[in-house]
Symmetry: C2
Subunit: 364 residues, 2 copies
């Protein structure tokens, strides 16, 4: 997607195939800084230090990391080195399912009985494939969801107002994003859309990343606090809610960023369609109920401190926004029960958020 006049992905290989570049997402939206990864260790650090984030992008970064580890490996000990790099990358973030998937796909290319050069070739092509698979899934989610937006535009005859929560955009993936993919495709086809961007406390992925993405690509959008969506829905200012998902159970319960459940309730109360966009790689077929998920309790400092741009010092700074003695709780995700979900938008099509719906697309 575009930043200014340039088409960007969140990660790309430079002309020198020993260098993989990523956008430093910790600096957005205040600074566009590109970080060059030259080794498996660089890739590990990029994930662990949250230079990159978003489950799909983490997986892709790990894939490139294993390739870089192979490229730089010692001619004597290449096989162990690459395996160790894979183990290390696997541990870089505890919960991302895509990470394990990508690492397994890459390590499957390592044959200790073969040649180092053969392995490097195979790692190169497998990394490219992991990337392109990710992009293709996003684009297909976009195509599937596009039909929904087009229908709403035909019915209304005026711009379609879409509310989204958190960042399920291209910055979390490689290109297009998940929830944003139908929005970008609609915008690029000239269907007028306007996006209500939930700020998404406490880490503000909505106001920092989604607003940045949409603004750079030229998509009209308005940032709101997380509390405002219900009021907008009551007043007919939202035509569609479109969010991503960190994990979807086989019965259609959706684990996503904290606050998603409240938006689903408001959509339901106001008879507004509530869709979840997700690649099939984030469906957990082993899990029936969302309540089986253990919800991560994150550091209270994420709530107690806020990061932003100091217009006096012209640099990013942190401020404390709570009394020092107050306790803080910071659950990272919540569970939207399938009964509140109008449909799931996947790369294979749109289905009901039910066991039957999901297995109609992913029966195997």
């Amino acid at each position: 997607m575009r930043i200014g006049e340039t088409h960007y992905r969140s990660i790309w290989m430079e002309e020198d195939p020993g260098i993989v570049s990523v956008i430093d997402q910790r600096k957005l939206p205040f600074e566009l800084k590109v970080v060059k990864l030259k080794s498996g260790k660089d890739a590990y650090n990029a994930i662990a230090e949250m230079i990159v984030r978003g489950a799909p992008l983490i997986g892709v970064t790990a894939a490139y990391g294993i390739y870089l580890a192979g490229l730089n490996s010692d001619p004597q000990h290449w096989c162990e080195e690459v395996r160790l790099a894979g183990e290390k990358l696997s541990s870089s973030r505890p919960t991302a399912v895509n990470l394990k998937y990508a690492v397994d796909a890459m390590l499957g290319q390592v044959n200790c009985a073969g040649s180092r050069e053969g392995m490097i070739d195979r790692l190169f092509y497998m990394a490219i494939r992991v990337v392109e698979d990710e992009v293709n899934r996003s684009r297909e989610i976009g195509n599937q969801g596009l039909a929904l937006i087009r229908d709403l535009f035909k019915k209304r005859g005026k711009p379609v107002n879409i509310l989204t929560h958190c960042n399920a955009g291209w910055l979390a993936c490689v290109d297009y994003g998940t929830a944003t993919a139908p929005i970008y495709l609609a915008h690029d086809q000239g269907i007028p859309v306007h996006v209500w961007v939930d700020e998404t406390r406490p880490r503000n992925q909505g106001s920092r990343l989604t607003a940045y993405e949409l603004g750079q690509h030229g998509v009209p959008h308005t940032v709101i606090v997380d509390s405002a969506g219900g009021h907008l829905m009551q007043n007919g200012e939202v035509d569609l809610v479109l969010v991503g998902s960190d994990r979807t159970t086989r019965t259609g319960d959706v684990v996503n960023k904290i606050g998603t459940y409240l938006k689903a309730l408001a959509a339901w109360d106001n008879k507004i369609p509530f869709y979840v966009a997700l690649p099939s790689t984030s469906i957990d077929f082993n899990m029936k109920e969302g309540s089986e998920t253990e919800i991560e309790n994150r550091a209270g400092a994420e709530v107690a401190f806020v990061e932003g741009w100091n217009e006096k010092s012209l640099q990013p700074e942190k401020l404390r926004i709570l009394p020092e003695s107050s306790n803080v709780a910071n659950p990272g995700f919540d569970i939207t029960p399938a009964r509140l979900v109008t449909g799931l938008i996947t790369e294979r099509g749109i289905c009901n958020a039910t066991e039957e719906g999901i297995s109609s697309l992913f029966g195997e």
Copy 2:
């Protein structure tokens, strides 16, 4: 209520009856600064500059302001001066109903045919009465709501978890508060309570004021982002939701801080009692449906900038937290339909959020 070991009100007359002191609420929770008001103009500035806020406190401050205007009035032109001060104070904030009520009560004491000294005496006593009426309403709301908390404690046998939104505390009133009044009374009687404090973006009245109040009075509490309440309710961690109200219609619709509606939906979905605490002075008997209310669209800068404590410079600062080019919408209130409200806690008792319920207590 307590700050440290001292009992405070949000406003009080000093031993010198020419000085009325208020807590500078713009500085909380980072600094406890007391501002001395010595004239009607000082009182006007305190309201206009938001040194004081909260509808009940604004009314009380205006009442004291008219008294101070009388006290400092010119022996020749006292009558016009006091009336002008009343007009000016009336215009200090556009929407507070209590403000008009307090100003009218005070100006009713001004008799241009009488003596200046007589007027000053009457203004003094009327100001005291406006203050004490406010405190009494809060205390009675507290007593009425206390029964609910006591019952929940008896039923559960463990600390009662109460979720609140925004600041409907003593800092918004004079003492006790509205939504917080039952909580303070329960705590002071030894009933174990724990309060989930919604941060309340964008102005953070929850994390800045409610958390401060509760902490200083020794009430156990935990600050959460506005998005977290639904998840806590799904997990049985909320026994009661207790909020204030800026305006309640005669049929029981509740206009309150943006985001209240989302909490009411979540309480309803999880079968958790959702109560609204309000003095009868905030019931709008002329209004039937909440949707008749014009919702104030506040400055986008409230969302785009956040104020907090810089632990390096040791002073409060502001940071921008959005891309400069993003639009912002900032509706200040939303409407919780009466159907989602379990009951209204007023100074005369608890009633259903219906026209019948309200007129059973306020038939006249």
